[in-house]
C-alpha cells in the first residue's frame, strides 16, 4: 500500500511542519540560554570553597544526570501542578525541564572549562587586588567560555535532538507535527523519513561547524 513515495504530502504539509520546526528551534534557543546561565552558577558553586555550595551542586548534577529527561518532563507536566496548585502547561513544563536538565550537563562542561584556565591567572588577579566576582567576570569566565565553545555547541545539537521528546506532552514541535500528519494521512514512510532527513541535515551541519570552530580555536 505504500508502493510509491508520495512527496506531495510532504510539500502540502510544509507550512505546518515549519511552524513545528520554529517551536523546536525556540525551545532549543531558550534551553541553551537558561541551561548555560544555570549551569555557570552551578559550576561556580561546585568550585566554590563553601562546602555547602559544592555539595549541593554535586548532588544536583549527579541526581539529574541519572534520570531520563522524559521523566523530568513528566514531573513538570503532571506532578508539579498538583504540588503548586496551578498548571504549568506543556510549553513551560518542557522548557523548565530542559533548563533543569541541561544545567546539569552544562555545569560539568563549564567546570572543566574553568579548570582549564591556568591557576596562576587567578593568583595574578588576586595579586592585583580584584575581588572574587571580578576575577570570574574579567579573567576566568571569558577564557573558559572561549575554550568551551565547541563542546557547548555539541551539547546544543544534542539539546536540539532532545526537543523531539516534547512529543510525549503533545507540544507541536517538528517531531509532533510530522507525527500528526503521518497518522492523519497514513503516510508514515514519507513523513518519518522526511523528519529524519531534516534533523540529520541540521545536526550534521551543526557538527561540521563545531569541527571548524574547534580547529580555529586550537590555532
Amino acid at each position: 500500500m505504500f508502493g510509491e513515495f508520495d512527496t506531495q504530502i510532504v510539500v502540502k504539509s510544509l507550512p505546518f511542519l515549519w511552524q513545528g520546526l520554529q517551536l523546536s528551534l525556540l525551545l532549543t534557543g531558550l534551553g541553551i540560554l537558561g541551561g548555560v546561565a544555570a549551569g555557570t552558577l552551578l559550576a561556580l558553586m561546585r568550585l566554590s570553597s563553601f562546602k555547602v555550595f559544592s555539595l549541593f551542586s554535586a548532588t544536583y548534577v549527579n541526581l539529574i544526570r541519572s534520570v531520563p529527561l522524559i521523566l523530568v518532563i513528566f514531573w513538570f507536566y503532571f506532578l508539579v501542578p498538583l504540588a503548586i496548585g496551578r498548571p504549568v502547561g506543556s510549553f513551560y513544563s518542557a522548557l523548565i525541564a530542559f533548563i533543569i536538565f541541561e544545567a546539569a550537563y552544562y555545569s560539568e562542561i563549564i567546570r572543566a572549562g574553568i579548570q582549564s584556565v591556568a591557576r596562576g591567572q587567578v593568583w595574578a588577579g588576586q595579586a592585583t587586588g580584584l575581588g572574587y566576582w571580578q576575577i570570574q567576570r574579567y579573567i576566568v569566565l571569558p577564557q573558559a567560555f572561549r575554550n568551551m565553545v565547541p563542546i557547548l555547541l555539541t551539547q546544543a545539537i544534542i539539546l536540539f535532538q532532545d526537543t523531539s521528546l516534547v512529543f510525549v506532552v503533545s507540544l507541536r514541535d517538528f517531531m509532533t507535527a510530522s507525527a500528526i500528519v503521518a497518522q492523519k494521512e497514513g503516510r508514515l514512510v514519507e513523513m518519518y523519513t522526511f523528519a529524519a532527513a531534516v534533523y540529520f541535515v541540521i545536526c550534521f551541519a551543526g557538527s561540521m561547524l563545531v569541527k571548524r570552530l574547534s580547529k580555529e580555536i586550537a590555532r
Binding site: P87, V169, Q183
Partner: protein
Amino acid sequence: MSYVKTLAVMAVSGVALLATGQAAAAEFYGTLKKIRDAGVINVGHRESSVPFSYLNDQQQPEGYSIDLCMRIVDKASEVVGKKLEVKFVPVNPKTRIPLLANGTIDIECGSTTNNLTRQQQIDYAHVTFITGTKLLVKKSSNIKEVEDLNGKAVALAQGTTNERAVKAIAEKQGLDIKMLPVKDHAEGFLALETDRVDAYSTDHILLHGLVSKAKSPDEYDVVGRFLSYDPYAIMVPRDDSAFRLVANTTLSDLFRSGEINDIYAKWFDPLGVPQTDLLKATFEMQALPY
C-alpha cells in the same frame, strides 16, 4: 509567539482586575475565578475522535463536542462578564484525566465515558452521547465477534474504558488475544491498516468516524455486539459545582430548545448515524427547567 501573547494577556487582565476593584471577583471561586482572572479558558481536545473532537485539514480542532464546548465557553464568558480567550490543549486518553485534575485544562471536550471510577478524580457535565465498545476489522478477515479474535491481535488505546472491557472479556473467557497498546485512535487505526493487528477496538461511533476518514472505507467493517456501555460526557474539574452548573445550564438549554438536533445532524448525518431512542430520552431527561 502565542505564549508571549498569553503572558501579555495575563498581565494586562491582571492589571485590569486591580483597576475594576475586586468586589466582583470575590463572588467566583474555582474554575470560574481562574478563567476570569486569566481571561483565558484552556480547552482540552482530542486529535482523532471523529466526529466528536479531531483536527481538521487546517490542524484546528472541530467536532460535536467542540461545538458544545464553545457554547459552554460563550456562557462562561457571559457569567464572568468578559470575553474569554480559548486556548486549545491537545490531550489523549492517557493524559486527559491527569491534565484536568492538575488544572492544565479547565474543560475536556472529547469522547470521554462518564463512569463512577473516574468521578473519584474529575466531574462530568450532562451526558451528550451514548455508545459502547465494538471491533473494527478488515472485511476480508471474517471476524464477527470478539471470540473470533482468539489467537489474533487487537490494538487498544491505553487508558480507555474499551481497553478494560476487552481485557476483562478475554480474561473471563480465557481467550488468547495479543494486545497492542496504542496512544490514540489514529494510531490504532494505523495499526489495523498496516496489518499490525487484526482488529482495533474502541467505541462504535468512533470506529464509524475512523472509517469515514479512511482512504478506502469499503475495506473496513464495524462488527460484534456491544462489549460495554459508554455514555459520553464533557469533563469538568471535581468539587466545582459552580462551573459545572454553567456547563449543565448551557447543555440543558440546548436540549430543551431542540437546538441539539441541529448540532447532532451537522456531525452525525454524514456518518449515517441517527439518534437512538435511548439518546433522545437522555436529551429529554436532561432538559432541566429553570
